[in-house]
Assembly symmetry: C2
Homo-oligomer: 130 residues x 2
DNA sequence: TTGCGTGCAAAGGTTTTGCATGGCA
DNA sequence: TGCCATGCAAAACCTTTGCACGCAA
């Protein structure tokens, strides 16, 4: 049977931030700092554990790991989107592209590999940087 | 002016392994263990520093970072190739695909983003796992 | 009251850095 | 001899875990 679950201040604070910043990417650390700043401090451990749980629940998504950088999280809204990250300035953005589905289909058919669009990260150089 | 550079046993040992295993992915740790095993031990720090230098020189490539996993390296031979990694079994493979260039061109034209094929990692589920 | 959630401190794993020593040219 | 390379130990860094306490239901 499913485990009981409590609604706590901390979880609310995390969810509130995420729903208010739907298209933003953030790290556990930055969320921790933010919550401390607005007077709703949540322990870093709890931030990690809450985000982990939200990922399991499908509410949040862990993504866009740049080399040595900390993991990024974001609120899940709508259909899964791939990320593009600029290797020069580090910016992370969503890739909204119709072509990607066709490409995914090709990968699936010709290379028997089921692409996970939301986990896939495209690296390159963004418009500003080149 | 360019810095002087020495040819050392350690660098040779690393290069020898890499050229003998051109299509393999390996971690700093596994290379360290391998070299110890074949009687050419190289300190882990040196392995990291040598690989870092080889990456700067364009001889090696750092790639396919799975979440909490250590970084993978591989010998660079020929044209840059993207990697596909199976999120279920963790296997890393090269993606040899003609379509990818067309896709990269589209990303460049329509989204003004210069895709770096060799850095990009496609996540998904491999043929065996699904 | 029950037991999940929290938060501190400590440990974990990977990678980097400091520093004295070693070895190539 | 000059000075880059090495390797040990220690630090840095992000993340997870242990454990006692707090708090929602």
């Amino acid at each position: 049977m499913k485990k009981k679950e409590y609604a706590t201040k901390q979880r609310e604070a995390v969810l509130e931030y995420m729903t208010a910043n739907k298209d933003c990417h953030f790290t556990a650390e930055s969320l921790y700092e933010y919550l401390k700043g607005v007077g709703s401090p949540v322990g870093l451990t709890t931030v990690y554990r809450t985000l982990e749980k939200l990922v399991r629940e499908g509410v949040a998504e862990k993504c866009g790991l740049q080399d040595g950088m900390p993991a990024c999280y974001e609120y899940v809204c709508g259909t899964p989107r791939s990320h593009i990250v600029c290797t020069r300035c580090g910016k992370i953005a969503h890739l909204e592209c119709g072509q990607i589905d066709a490409f995914a289909d090709h990968i699936s058919d010709a290379h028997s590999f089921g692409l996970d669009k939301s986990k896939t990260v495209f690296y390159g150089v963004c418009g500003k940087c080149r």
